[in-house]
């Protein structure tokens, strides 16, 4: 390897930004074709191409950071800023759904009865499964912190235990939400209530699934000795993301499930 007199990561040419852009385009056009013309081939191609891009791009990053030592302190600082900015963009993504919800519920239109929830809508009882979901996500926030501290104290066994408990809680949350979805007396086509409810909780559920996948990746990387007690930003990014998803749920619970019912 050539001698390098600075700590920055000079990235090699990579095909993934190009395939990523193309598959994002395929995904968008595929969705339009599916929604309007029942045509699913483009969407399938888009999903396949974006999954492959994500897998291979992140695999390259794992190799650069873990085996090639490119993730030096200033590089890690950049990764941290990147993750923070990404989570801020996610905050605004969800702010849009909360805006739609409060816009519709604080001044309900006469067409839906002039009150919230609208006439004919029977919301879920927030003190039943939604409360359990809150307990599950709060518990997962505790177990992931346990996993992080065990990792920093180089306790492999407990770190793996705590991480798998976090993943199990994430899967349990997804299971509970799916059974709630099939139990609700209202659907996504039930006017503004159904639209705002399923848009907000559905995208949150998608984020829980993504977060669980991220944590599962961290679990396997931990098993493969990718993390040291002081060099494990992949894990920290997953933990930040998981806490973010947890906080979004608290806002959903208070706004939509509790106040909105």
């Amino acid at each position: 390897m050539t001698h390098q007199t600075h700590a920055y990561h000079m990235v090699n040419p990579s095909p993934w930004p190009l395939t990523g852009a193309l598959s994002a385009f395929l995904l968008t056009s595929g969705m339009i074709m599916w929604f309007h013309f029942y045509y699913t081939t483009l969407l399938t191609a888009g999903l396949l191409a974006s999954t492959m891009t994500m897998f291979q791009w992140w695999r390259d990053i794992v190799r650069e950071g873990t085996y090639q030592g490119h993730h030096t302190s200033p590089v890690q600082k950049g990764l941290r800023y990147g993750m923070i900015l990404f989570i801020i963009s996610e905050v605004f993504f969800f702010a849009g759904f909360f805006w739609a919800f409060y816009h519709s519920s604080l001044a309900p239109t006469p067409q839906t009865g002039g009150h919230w929830p609208p006439t004919g809508i029977f919301p879920l009882n927030p003190m039943e499964v939604p409360l359990l979901n809150t307990a599950v996500l709060l518990a997962s926030g505790v177990t992931i912190t346990w996993a992080h501290h065990s990792l920093m104290e180089a306790n492999r066994k407990e770190s793996a235990q705590a991480l798998s408990m976090t993943i199990a809680l994430g899967i349990y949350f997804t299971y509970l939400q799916m059974s709630e979805y099939s139990e609700t007396s209202f659907t996504i086509s039930d006017g503004i209530y159904g639209s705002t409810f399923f848009m907000a909780t559905g995208f949150h559920g998608l984020h829980v699934i993504i977060g669980t996948t991220f944590l599962t990746t961290c679990y396997f990387r931990q098993q493969l000795y990718h993390f040291t007690s002081s060099h494990h930003f992949g894990f920290e990014a997953a933990a930040w993301y998981w806490h973010f998803v947890d906080v979004v749920w608290l806002f959903l619970y208070i706004s939509i499930y509790w106040w909105g019912s």
Partner: protein, 108 residues
């Protein structure tokens, strides 16, 4: 007493020295034994909380729910165009027992 305070202070000052090399790292403020505290919190606070909530759900689910009577409100069961799946008339999480179609419950 004074000696203990002084040693504690010096430890605190020692800890607040500027960190070299690992900016914004949460590993920098890890105290020994903090994993133990989070383990205790997991088993004595977090998981019992989940257990109590599960019990609460179980006890409340014992009661049978009456399904609401079907009323063909114009602001509900909206179908401006068919869904892009199935027969285009059933939502993705359709439950024929509690979700009526625009014309009413399927089993009535």
């Amino acid at each position: 007493m004074a000696a203990a305070v002084a040693s504690r202070l010096s430890r605190l000052l020692g800890r607040s020295r500027p960190q070299v090399g690992r900016p914004m790292s949460s590993a920098a403020h890890s105290g020994e034994g903090s994993a133990r505290m989070w383990k205790i919190l997991t088993f004595f606070v977090a998981l019992p909380g989940v257990g109590v909530s599960m019990l609460n759900v179980y006890l409340k689910s014992q009661k049978e729910h009456e399904r609401p009577e079907f009323v063909a409100y114009p602001h509900l069961r909206i179908r401006t165009k068919p869904f892009p799946w199935g027969d285009g008339n059933h939502t993705l999480f359709h439950n024929s027992h509690v979700n009526p179609l625009p014309t009413g419950y399927e089993d009535e």
